[in-house]
Structure formats: structure tokens, C-alpha cells
Symmetry: C2
Subunit: 254 residues, 2 copies
DNA sequence: TCTCCGCTCTGACGCAGGGTCAGAGTCAAG
DNA sequence: CTTGACTCTGACCCTGCGTCAGAGCGGAGA
């Protein structure tokens, strides 16, 4: 049986020598033997065991649990262990998802409002990250529409989210600046077209989603505190509704 | 200005007194003052700051970074910070997703194969969790089909995944046991119906996805090593194809 | 006034999973 | 024999607190 010394063995397994020391110390992986001068000597069987360890670590188990599992050669327990880890990780992912959505919304809100103020930022993040993110808006959408929104969710990469958020901010600013213009004029028409394009980015052209959006934005004054940063000013909403009507485009929320 | 002592202040913010001590020590949140006898005295301004701290911690920043950010009153840096955190968290979520998928597949594989052996388990998890999970199967599906698969991905909760995996295992066993029967017989028809139901669970009835599945399972011998545990035995595939044909159901992969 | 309970302080150790020295010994090639 | 690449052990460091331990305060009841 060929023996490997620490560095070679570590490189084979893709870990550091320090890791081997650590695993030895905690009794997770003791080398097959020692040389006369105290050098650790590993074999291929050790490599197999180390690979098992690393895989179990990969799926999020702690070293202690791994040790216990391997010591009992826990092949029969493996299914249960996997089930538990799956639940644990699923919960983690939900947290992560919420946090990511919160950051996305915060970025959009920030990119619009020149100097960000901490207060609205904290309330926004807290509201979104702590609790149910999407549930409050479910009241506005039919079940099928909500399902179609969910199925489009994976399309919203952080980059796209950011780009669209920035475009919304720019559009809001431009509309603000055009409030004194004629809602049926040429400038207003251009704004309405941009508006409609951005709305379509979210609806994907789905009329059910569009309808829900309309309901939702009509109810903007009643949104939870954390979302008020997203509510467009009534003047803006009025203007764009008129502009959309004049341009013969069905109105979209915003 | 009203003053709070440690416990009351901590309760207001939803943290422990120890946390306050810690934040004081690392210079993240020093109380507005001290009583004559050394008691920490916090004010409402401290509460605001603590809320900012907690929100920044929520999105994954370290205490050191938070301190630096708040010390410079980094309102202007906030957008950059958020962008960075978003990327960091997005990467984390990808890891998590891969790991969850890997666990799901491992559970299914395990629930079929009586005594699990470590070797196929480790190769499976490594293959899936370390690298591109879905890319190898993209070759079998058209772009639209792949897009529809992605859009159905959110439907696959861990629970559903597990249930369907278990049903597949049971079905495989039953088919194995029925290999000597007539593929056109009544028993075979029942199996074909079950098979088709499970396939539909994945395809959602989409013929494009179905077509890709057929291509994919026809190529099973060429799947990467980590997926071989998923390949049905040729006899099983043969039997079920005949049974599906006899039952006048279009064949589904598996 | 004494006592008692509940609060507060500081200091110190522990946790997971190693990273990163420091100081000393070993191995093999030139 | 030297030199450079490894190896060993022991020890401290990191994060973000939890968890004592020992000692001091503050206010209410007896």
C-alpha cells in the first residue's frame, strides 16, 4: 500500500495541510500510520474517507456530525441526514432569497432618490427581509396571474433587476420634469411608450398580470410602510395615465 | 433626552445585552453616556444607529464594514455597497441551489438503491454540487423547452421532489419485478400509466420538454459519471417503451 | 436601616474551521 | 556538508456573539 506524506495527500484531495492537521486533531481523519520520525502517512483508503468527509461538509454538515456519521458507517442513516440537511438548506435559501429581493428593491429606490436617507432604507429592508415579501401583493393578483409571475421570477437576475430599476428611476425623473406639458403631446407620447415598455418587461405581455398591477397601483396609499418608497406620486400617475390613454395604450401600473 | 439602560434598550432593539457590550467594545455603537457608577446610558439616537447596524448586518455585512460605513456616514457609498453585497449573496445562492439539487438527486438515488454505497454517493454529489448542474442536459433540449423547464423550476419544492423521487423508485422496482410479463398486458398497462403520470409531473404536459427527455434518455450511456446512477437499465427502458406503445401513450423518458 | 432581588459592570473562555506564524527537526539532492 | 523543501507541535487570530464568574448598584419591602 503506497503511502503519501501530508503535502502530496493534501494536494490530491484539494485541501491544505493545516486542514489535515485539524481533522487529525479532532479525530475525523487519522492517518493510516506515522513514520519513525513522526510524519503522517496517508493511504488511498484515507483518501476515500477524506472524500466522503468533504462531500458531507459540502452539503453543510459540521465536522462533529460527520465524524459521528462515519464512525457508525452510517449508510442507513444517510437518507435521514440528507432529508434534514435539505430542510435546513431550504430555509437558508429562503432567507437568502428575501435578502436578495430586499437589496434589489433598495437599490432601485436608492438610484431614484438622490441622497438616500437611512430611515426609509432601514424600514424598507426590514420590512422586506424579515417577513413575507410577496404575500401582501398577492391580494391584487388572481391566482393564475400570481402563478405566471412566479414562473417568470427566474428571469429577474440581479443585473436585469438593477438595469430595469435604473430605467424606472430615470423615467420617473423625466415624467416629473414633464408634468407641465400636454399629456396628449409628442413628449408625453414618448414617455408613455417608455413606460409601457418597462411595464411589459415585468408583465411579459400577460394581461392578467397587467390587470393585477393596475389594481395594485390604484391602491398605492394603502401599501405597507416599507413599500411607500415605491409609490409614484399621484401627479405622475395621473399624467402617465392620460398620456397612455392619448397614445391609445392600455394603462400599466408602474 | 430620555436615557435607557442596557436591558431596556436591548429589548427595544431586539438584541441581547451582550450584543450591546460587544458593539461597544468594537466601537460600533458607543452609548451616549455613562452613569456615575459606570452604567451604559443609551438614547433614541443610539436606537436609530443600532437599527441601521442591524439592517446592514441583515444584508450580510460584517461589523467592521458596518462601522467603517457608518463612520463616514456612507450614504453616498451605499449604492456600491449594495451592489457588491448583491453579487456576493447571488453567488452564495447559486451554491445553495446546486447543493440543494444535489441532495435532492442523492435522496432519490438512495431511496431506490437499498444499501447506499459511498462511492457513487460522493461522485454524484461532487459532480452536481461542484459544477454546472444543468448545462450538460441543455444539449438535449431546445432553447424554448429549456426556458419552460426553468420557468417550472420553482414548482419543485424539496417535498415534491422527494415525493416524486420516491414514486420513481417504487415504480422502477415494480417494473423490474414485471419484466417477465407481457408488455401489452394489463399489469404493464398500469405501469405505463404510472410512468406517464410521473413524466407529466416533470413535463407539465409540454411536448417540447417531452421530446428533449426522449433524446436525453436515449443517450443515457453517454451521461457523465455522476448521473449514471440515474440511468434506468436498458431492459426497463425497453419494457416501458413497449408498454407505453401498447397502451397508446407517447413514450416518455424516465 | 437592612435586606433582597434584579440589574449592571468587566474579564475571560468557548464555538467552528481552519489561517498564519514560530521554532525545531527531517529528507533528499548536489 | 549544505541547502531547500517538507514536516512536526504549539499557539494565537478571526467572527459574532453565548455563557459563566465575581463584584458592585438601585429601588422596594420589612
Amino acid at each position: 500500500m503506497k503511502h503519501y506524506r501530508a503535502l502530496e495527500f493534501a494536494r490530491r484531495a484539494g485541501v491544505t495541510v493545516r486542514t489535515l492537521h485539524h481533522y487529525d486533531r479532532v479525530g475525523l481523519l487519522r492517518p493510516a500510520g506515522r513514520s519513525g520520525t513522526g510524519y503522517r502517512l496517508y493511504t488511498d483508503r484515507d483518501l476515500l474517507r477524506l472524500e466522503q468527509i468533504l462531500v458531507l461538509k459540502l452539503i453543510g454538515l459540521g465536522l462533529k456530525d460527520i465524524r459521528a456519521l462515519l464512525e457508525r458507517d452510517g449508510r442507513t442513516e444517510l437518507p435521514d441526514v440528507l432529508a434534514r440537511q435539505q430542510r435546513v438548506l431550504a430555509i437558508k435559501r429562503e432567507h437568502l432569497d428575501r435578502t436578495l429581493r430586499a437589496i434589489g428593491m433598495a437599490r432601485s429606490a436608492l438610484s431614484g432618490a438622490g441622497q438616500p436617507d437611512w430611515e426609509s432604507f432601514t424600514t424598507l429592508i426590514k420590512e422586506i427581509a424579515m417577513q413575507n415579501t410577496t404575500s401582501w401583493q398577492e391580494q391584487y393578483f388572481s391566482e393564475e396571474a400570481q402563478a405566471r409571475i412566479d414562473s417568470r421570477a427566474h428571469l429577474w437576475s440581479p443585473e436585469l433587476q438593477q438595469r430595469v430599476g435604473a430605467e424606472w428611476s430615470a423615467l420617473y425623473r423625466d415624467v416629473e420634469a414633464a408634468l407641465s406639458e400636454d399629456p396628449a403631446g409628442e413628449k408625453a407620447r414618448a414617455l408613455a411608450v417608455r413606460w409601457n415598455a418597462l411595464v411589459s418587461e415585468f408583465t411579459g405581455g400577460d394581461p392578467g398580470i397587467q390587470e393585477g398591477l393596475n389594481r395594485m397601483y390604484a391602491d398605492a396609499p394603502n401599501w405597507p410602510a416599507g413599500r411607500q418608497a415605491w409609490a409614484p406620486r399621484p401627479e405622475v400617475q395621473d399624467f402617465i395615465r392620460k398620456a397612455l390613454a392619448a397614445a391609445a395604450i392600455r394603462p400599466g401600473g408602474g
